[in-house]
Symmetry: C2
Subunit: 62 residues, 2 copies
């Protein structure tokens, strides 16, 4: 499986906001995350980087 966890980078620390993320849609200063079960979470911020081998999606609130 290829799902990842989404983290917010704040004050140089990573805070996990969602596990088993399967889709990521950035849109006008928000990032829409959807997990395996179809649950959705909306984070204020932008995508900072994606590390597929580490299963990490890193967002920032800038």
């Amino acid at each position: 499986m290829c799902e990842s966890s989404a983290f917010v980078l704040k004050n140089n620390e990573l805070y996990k906001v969602m596990e088993n993320v399967v889709s990521v849609d950035p849109h006008e200063g928000k990032v829409y995350l959807t997990d395996l079960l179809g649950d959705q979470k909306i984070v204020d911020g932008v995508i900072k980087e994606i590390r597929l081998m580490d299963h990490k999606i890193i967002l920032t609130e800038e």
Copy 2:
């Protein structure tokens, strides 16, 4: 393995720009893609969406 392919969406069609992508770094209107072998490609644009289950990273040139 969790690498994906990166596509640019243009005129409603997806054009593949890189396979076996392992990291994605958007930065100031460019998206830096790195593949399994460490090769890098820079695309003018932004991340439109990421579908991990489909192994697709979709960029647009807006």
